[in-house]
Symmetry: C3
Subunit: 379 residues, 3 copies
């Protein structure tokens, strides 16, 4: 692939008006070179959700995660600030932290160089006599990090955009769901044999619900009622109906949050936080999926559920929360299967990208976002 040719010129019909637009070419889903461009041009500049602030409430709490092969350490400092680092020792590069826990400092297991919670090097055994060595020159490499409504985002770019600005218009929209008062309840990870965009495509169109989720999601809500609206940094999908999106038909969930009722129509919202997270907000819970590519045709799907603060203290918490998890597992299994069937079809088939159906307006927007972001990044 010639990295100089703008994709917009190679595939001009992708960004045409909806009725004339063609889908992304098959290469976008199966070509390792295309993925290499996305890794640099999309994931190298994007704000990516990696967790919740309440996961690390105290000074010294930390966890690690991976974003397109980069390991990132998130830690809360003595000053209460959440920071992100590359956990590679500045001596010979060993990992100074894996998993999660609480530490007063990060001690490298190889030769005991020691880093503070703010990433500064505070100990380096036997380096005192070195004529050119100054600890101040060897902090952990920092990674941009921001917290929005309790969500921790990282950005691998050295010159990231402002997350606050990017999501400024979203604040009022999600206000009724009091996201800052949510508490993480479960994180579950799946490895899927599909391109990360296939699962995003799937999440931003309701066209597939009647067939793929005929017995799971379709009975819960009248899918034809969904509306959508693309913004620059996020997409909205919403529908108004009475009930919760969180449990399967006929099951009882937690009571709705203040301001919501199960009997009155309420607005249920899916927010796609570009490029790779889809957050669902319903009357009694939220959950969000994040797609993290491993290679062009393998991805990690991470799903997180959160309930309003205090929910976990309920005596019936375990039994009822399980219904939300099971509902998600049933529906996501259907989506995983169909996206893997799609991946096989694109990989082993002769596909000529065609036209969109009316309910695929966000798939069209997302295809344009991918092309424009790659072209703009120069990747």
């Amino acid at each position: 692939m010639n990295v100089q040719t703008p994709l917009n010129l190679l595939y001009p019909r992708v960004t045409e008006a909806f009725e004339n637009a063609h889908m992304l070419p098959s290469e976008a889903y199966i070509d390792p070179d295309w993925y290499a461009r996305e890794k640099a041009g999309i994931f190298g500049n994007a704000w990516v959700v990696v967790g919740r602030a309440e996961q690390i409430p105290n000074a010294g709490d930390y966890f690690t995660c991976h974003v397109t092969g980069q390991c990132v350490l998130l830690a809360r400092g003595e000053d209460g600030q959440v920071r992100a680092f590359s956990p590679s020792c500045r001596h010979r590069g060993a990992l100074i932290a894996e998993g999660e826990g609480n530490k007063r400092a990060f001690v490298c297991p190889y030769h005991r160089w020691t880093y503070g919670l703010d990433g500064s090097l505070i100990g380096a055994p036997g380096m005192d006599g070195h004529p050119n060595f100054d600890k101040a020159d060897f902090p952990l490499a920092g990674i941009s990090c921001a917290v929005w409504q309790g969500f921790i985002f990282i950005n691998l770019s050295d010159t990231p955009s402002s997350l606050e600005d990017d999501l400024a218009d979203l604040g009022p929209i999600v206000e009724p769901y009091r996201l800052g008062d949510m508490r993480l309840a479960r994180t579950k990870t799946y490895t899927i044999k599909a391109n990360w965009k296939s699962y995003i495509d799937n999440s931003i169109e309701a066209y597939h619900v009647a067939s793929v989720h005929a017995r799971s999601l379709q009975p819960v809500a009248p899918m034809s009622a969904w509306q959508c609206e693309p913004h620059e940094h996020f997409y909205l999908q919403w529908a108004e109906f009475a009930g919760t999106l969180g449990v399967l038909k006929g099951e009882e969930g937690f009571p709705p949050m203040p301001g919501f009722s199960l009997d009155q129509p309420a607005r249920h919202i899916l927010v796609t936080l570009l490029p790779n997270t889809v957050l669902t907000m319903t009357v009694d819970a939220i959950w969000w999926i994040t797609l993290l590519p491993l290679d062009v045709n393998t991805s990690t799907l991470v799903v997180n559920h959160a309930f309003p603060v205090g929910t976990r203290e309920r005596p019936d918490y375990e039994a009822i929360a399980e219904r939300y998890f099971r509902r998600f597992d049933v529906v996501s299994q259907e989506d995983i299967e169909i996206t893997e069937i799609q991946q096989r079809g694109i990989t082993h088939g002769r596909r000529i990208p065609g036209l969109y159906q009316e309910q695929e307006r966000l798939v069209h927007a997302f295809a344009g976002y991918v092309l424009r972001t790659l072209d703009r990044s120069g990747a």
Copy 2:
């Protein structure tokens, strides 16, 4: 590898006369770039045996197969015709069929676009209002397909040669075996760690029989009696002796077909259908192996046995058929082991291709076929 340099110039001794000819260079068996050329230049233009017409006798019967990464759907139409398609949905590319079965139409599992048995798009939910959409523009991509003597062949080229012409001279030769009256009895698949050509090389020379098959095949037939003859699109090997090639020495098979006897010398024939199938015809059965490369050093070996129509109805069918299968399994296991030892030797050794032994005339012909086909294809 410079794709502009004709291989014939790089390896001039491969195509010299038999007594001076050198074997194919090691690259032909271990270099991923060489395999990429074969995938395009040989398998992209070849007629490849993928099954038997009697596998799908009725309208709506279908099966799928893979040829060098391409999935192919074979289906019999209402008009009795066997057709081949790429089973990738013209909407977002999902596989519309896998495995085998009988269907009235192929319904995509993602959004229910529906294709007739002739590949035409006959349903596309919710696309009616689209100003630019016409179902006639979105049939399944067709793949060339032909039936010869009951064998189904496909050809991935857009401009395939005529299979009938290619095999015109072969018809009279195989006539005594009434191939059209054969019925598929068993299909078995092995994954071998060897280049596909290694197993073809093995199948077209009798030089190895005395050592590799000393206790299995060698006692069945006087291997020195074999003769061979290369044609443009197929190779012949034959020997005349009394008995069957189908079971191990001392075992009893099915009665010979009309026109054959176990007591009288008969002609036993191996036909290599270039590039990747070797069909054996003996007095009471036929079987054919097909080599389908997965990558340069991994291949799928598919073996099919067929017996004359009516054989399966015999009360002793299971017991006797099992002898044919076991005989093949014993012999092929020996060939798989030796080709894998050869693959390891070529991969990890310093090999300088040398001269052929008298019984390797078809290996020489096949090496020339590979070089000439690649050069001609421009791959």
Copy 3:
């Protein structure tokens, strides 16, 4: 990577004086292209230890090994000479030997071409009538081979240096350990997820002992006492103290060799035989590790223990030898874990190579050796 750019110019600080020197860049440990250069430029020219002469004491004794993908056959001839060959048959390339054993000749399993213990082709069935064939033209490809102090080395280069010259200065240094009188006791192989150089780096610095081996090696010897000295073809590390390096603290080993005592301070020596072997000599035993890369981030670690001739005949041999093996297993497990943690840190982290600690002088020397050897080789 541009193969024309000298690495010394790309990374000028690697070869600066110790106090100013930077470590090798991360690419050296994770970039497949860098490894491809090492495979050709370092392993393609190096003398590599592959075994001991006493493993194949008699004519016809042989074993095979792999060095960066090349299979090598070592065999002792009728004349008592140890020779090395590429065990790929000169006919169609099958492996003529795997594993170890004793043979009068090597018979290819495919068509029975037969090679003498000196590699000459002595039989080729059915080739007699070939007008252009002369057995003398088809010996096994020879590989350079030398024996030094009982160690068998091979060199994949066509124009190898003189091993005797390379190690001339080492002879007097190792003389007290009577290496020629050692007898191989155990060979054990580990696959590690780390670059081969990481484990060499680990073996040539004592900086990590206090942390990584706090409870295993640290109590055995005062690590601060170690001194080191780089030579062109080998490195020396040594310390003088009473006791053995061979067993864990508190365990009893074999009696010391003549000339050594457990009560008197003795010199314990580690010799790094560049590029990939580290030999440890203590008062009662020797052992050596060899790193054989499989790819840029996967290596085989082979460890061999040897004891003085006669030790194996002791009635308490099994029980005591087991202590040496266990001691090594404990310590090497700690080193494997830390080098794998280092590999993950370099692979998934943002590492900026920094300055060395005083005890890492040989790591600095080794980094310079790698760069200079690659540049000199033109690989």
